[in-house]
């Protein structure tokens, strides 16, 4: 079972108390980009087997969204941080 400590309210939440929000750091491009770039933005995902930067929401708690670095095979949580912060673990894998 996935357990993540919410960086906002500080509570340890189980996966049932959280909502998954997919890959992190996908920025919406300008509307003038090519159809290919727009398709990429909307649909294409890195989907790695291993280290993944992703978004979660403390939906049964304080309701805040935050970012997580997680291994998609072992489900180990490597880092959790607020949107306005920078993650050490995320910098290292990037």
């Amino acid at each position: 079972m996935i357990l993540i400590r919410c960086p906002y309210c500080g509570e340890l939440r189980t996966e049932d108390e959280l909502t998954y929000g997919g890959e992190a750091n996908i920025a919406r491009p300008a509307e003038t980009v090519s159809d290919e770039a727009w398709t990429d933005y909307l649909f294409m995902r890195t989907n790695p087997k291993g280290i993944h930067q992703e978004q979660w929401c403390c939906s049964a708690g304080c309701g805040q969204w935050f970012k997580v670095v997680r291994d998609t095979v072992s489900h180990r949580i490597l880092d959790v941080w607020k949107f306005e912060e920078v993650s050490q673990a995320a910098e290292e894998v990037a």
């Binding site: 079972m1 996966e15 049932d16 649909f43 294409m44 087997k49 992703e54």
Partner: protein
């Protein structure tokens, strides 16, 4: 004398010899240095592709490469529900073709796939679901696919152990029923296609992982494997949850994410449940195997995962829903639980046909429900590999649909559940 064709006569003859004369169902060949077609992935879709490519298109220099053992991916982990009650004409055409092919497959492959068309029921718990079912039925009629709505009394007759009492959390108004729906023995589909393809000359190479592609311009010239390099003219790929990694090796991206879908079985008991039943209130479904185990599954784990194992939150959700539906099943013990890595596409429809690499064709994105589609998926990929063009039925499912924004949104329309 080695007996190759399975029959009652063969069974009797071999019994007299103490069953010593059965030959292996397929060979264990060493890979050759070159093939016309290399198929990556020995699940149902890859194996069916190999079979139809050899049978319908006369291609014989085919290698099928499987990193583990055939059927060891999602094909051997799935809950084997088959049906064709999809909404859009494009999907109905594909899934009903698959079901029709399954209906004749045991004869075609000379392998008993244990097709059991025991009826697939989607329960109707409220007026809204009743209207959705009526809407779906109209679509099915237009698509020429069978289906009917049955009332509460008929459901009670079909599911005698179902909790129809006043205390039931989800009352039942009726059900949507597809009588041609049911189950098939999953391993038999993999093994039947493998044996038939092998007899047509396909080299099925297990424990052989594809680790890279060698390209010249925008074509693959050879495939790098854990057994060395293999030259080839065309490549077909049917690796389900591993599709992103294979596409990355070939140099393009796919609109899919990999998630865990779990299932579990109880200890075996005498026949108590003659149909497959799913509740849209919980997404949980259950049927009984020929061995007597109750097979149960539920919703997909919503976060990305390649874990291929189960976990307790989902087990709890599935079991509590099953016991709510069938209180007497609460006496049973759980025997096994497991997970598979499924490939989820935004519109819950498969991706079939060409890729940005000119001689690489794909079959993926079946997500939580591609077992029922195996014969059709194999036919489509075989067509692409043989002709270089897309079968008309596969056209709506091309990778280009994401750019042209012509999604086939069965996820929203039919509320896909396996």
């Amino acid at each position: 004398m080695k007996i190759r064709q399975y029959s009652l006569r063969a069974l009797a003859l071999c019994a007299l010899q103490g069953h010593r004369d059965w030959p292996p169902a397929w060979r264990t060949p060493q890979p050759k240095s070159s093939y016309d077609v290399v198929i990556v992935g020995g699940g149902g879709h890859g194996l069916a592709t190999a079979f139809y490519l050899a049978k319908h298109h006369g291609v014989t220099r085919i290698a099928l490469l499987e990193k583990g053992w055939i059927g060891g991916g999602n094909t051997g982990r799935n809950t084997t529900n088959v049906r064709s009650d999809y909404l859009f004409p494009e999907s109905a055409a594909i899934y009903d073709l698959a079901l029709r092919l399954y209906e004749d497959l045991a004869r075609e492959l000379n392998f008993n796939i244990m097709l059991s068309q025991r009826g697939w029921l989607t329960l109707i718990h409220n007026q809204h679901q009743m209207e959705l079912a009526a809407h779906k039925l109209n679509w099915l009629k237009c698509n020429g696919v069978d289906g009917e709505i049955i009332d509460r009394a008929v459901v009670r007759g079909m599911l005698p152990h179902f909790n129809m009492g006043r205390d039931a959390r989800n009352p039942v108004l009726g059900a949507f029923l597809q009588r041609r729906g049911g189950t098939i023995r999953h391993d038999a589909v993999a093994w039947g296609y493998a044996r038939a393809a092998d007899r047509l000359g396909v080299d099925i190479i297990q424990n052989c992982e594809v680790v890279g592609f060698e390209k010249s311009a925008d074509k693959i010239t050879s495939v790098h494997t854990t057994h060395g390099r293999i030259h080839c003219e065309r490549v077909g790929m049917a690796v389900a949850g591993q599709s992103t990694a294979l596409a990355a090796m070939a140099g393009f991206r796919l609109p899919l994410t990999t998630h865990t879908l779990q299932a579990m079985v109880s200890e075996p008991i005498r026949p108590v449940l003659n149909h497959v039943v799913i509740s849209p209130a919980t997404g949980v479904y259950v049927n009984q195997t020929q061995k007597g185990e109750l097979v149960m599954g539920g919703m997909l784990d919503l976060y990305q995962s390649y874990a291929q194992r189960g976990n307790f939150p989902t087990i709890e959700k599935v079991l509590s829903a099953v016991v709510e539906m069938f209180p007497s099943f609460g006496q049973l013990r759980l025997m096994r639980h497991w997970g598979g890595a499924v490939d989820i596409v935004p519109d819950s429809s498969p991706i079939l046909g060409p890729t940005p690499v000119r001689n690489l064709f794909i079959n993926c994105g079946w997500g939580t429900g591609g077992f029922k589609a195996i014969p059709a998926g194999g036919l489509m990929l075989a067509h692409s590999l043989a002709t270089g063009s897309t079968h008309p039925m596969a056209q709506p499912f091309g990778l280009d649909r994401f750019r042209s924004n012509r999604l086939v949104d069965e996820g929203a329309a039919a509320g896909i559940a396996h």
